[in-house]
Symmetry: C2
Subunit: 171 residues, 2 copies
């Protein structure tokens, strides 16, 4: 059994923070409360993780995606991250925050880019596409992200993840 | 019915040009002849197009992917391209070459990036991932590309493509 869901950006609406992470009780709240909004779908997909999230990211500055990861780390979900070394300390990088919260991470410092923007959730769902995990990407760029719930695809990504982890650690 | 194939890069091997585009009869050829090499799979996927290729690209400098498109244009396959305006004339851009060969194209000149790296082949297969269509990406970067043969996914991308084409043309 498989499912594929496609998310397209930009979505210029600002999603209500309370709506995403608790509940919004403000009846005059002007922010977006649409659970089908692409960024809300991404956050929800991370929130649904039960055991593990394996991240391979060029960069991470998105407040919303970071908060979802911090919540998962607090719950005891294992979160790992491989990130490009050049962008890991870029302005607004959330690497410090998520590594302090217990995320294991390594960085790739080869000349080529570590250009992935994918996550594997519970070894069964893959998030992948053109979109870096930044606020700019979600609200300003034309981007696509696929949510692929397919065992074989997840397995392919897990194998590549293990291979990269070893390769980059050993370098 | 659906199929998903995942390609991972970098693949530092240089694929034999003759092997990709005609036949390599050189028994001492030192270039790669592996039809499962990820770049060879991408070229093959374009070569299999019968009717249409809709491209949404941040940039295109890859000689191999360009040649596959030129061959298709010559055969009469309809090729369309939406491309980011900032990178369309970057060093090594193949936009001039493929537009001269009959590819219809428009460029996005908004402040945000046109960051897609996808193609829809014959309205039934989607190529999408982190990888820009450059040589550097294929041989130097860590990248992933999904080949998704699924009608619903292709339909989602076709709808978004039509929407973007209109939006960007009208701007
Ligand atoms: Zn609200
Ligand atoms: Zn050869």
């Amino acid at each position: 059994s498989f499912e594929i869901e496609t998310l397209f950006f930009p979505d210029k609406r600002i999603i209500c923070w309370n709506f995403l992470f608790s509940k919004c009780r403000d009846e005059s709240c002007g922010y977006c409360h649409d659970c089908e909004a692409p960024l809300a779908r991404l956050v929800k997909t991370l929130q649904n993780a039960k055991r593990s999230i394996d991240l391979a990211l060029f960069e991470i500055t998105s407040e919303e995606l970071t908060q979802a990861l911090l919540d998962k780390l607090k719950e005891g979900v294992r979160v790992r991250l491989i990130i490009d070394s050049e962008y890991m300390m870029t302005t607004g990088s959330k690497l410090g925050k998520i590594s302090s919260a217990g995320c294991e991470f390594i960085h790739d410092h080869t000349h080529g880019l570590f250009h992935h923007k994918f996550a594997i959730v519970d070894s069964q769902l893959v998030i992948s596409g053109s979109m870096n995990w930044t606020r700019q990407a979600a609200i300003g760029n034309y981007e696509n992200v696929l949510l692929v719930k397919d065992k074989n695809t997840a397995l392919d990504f897990e194998k590549e993840y293990a291979k990269m982890w070893e390769e980059i650690t050993d370098r």
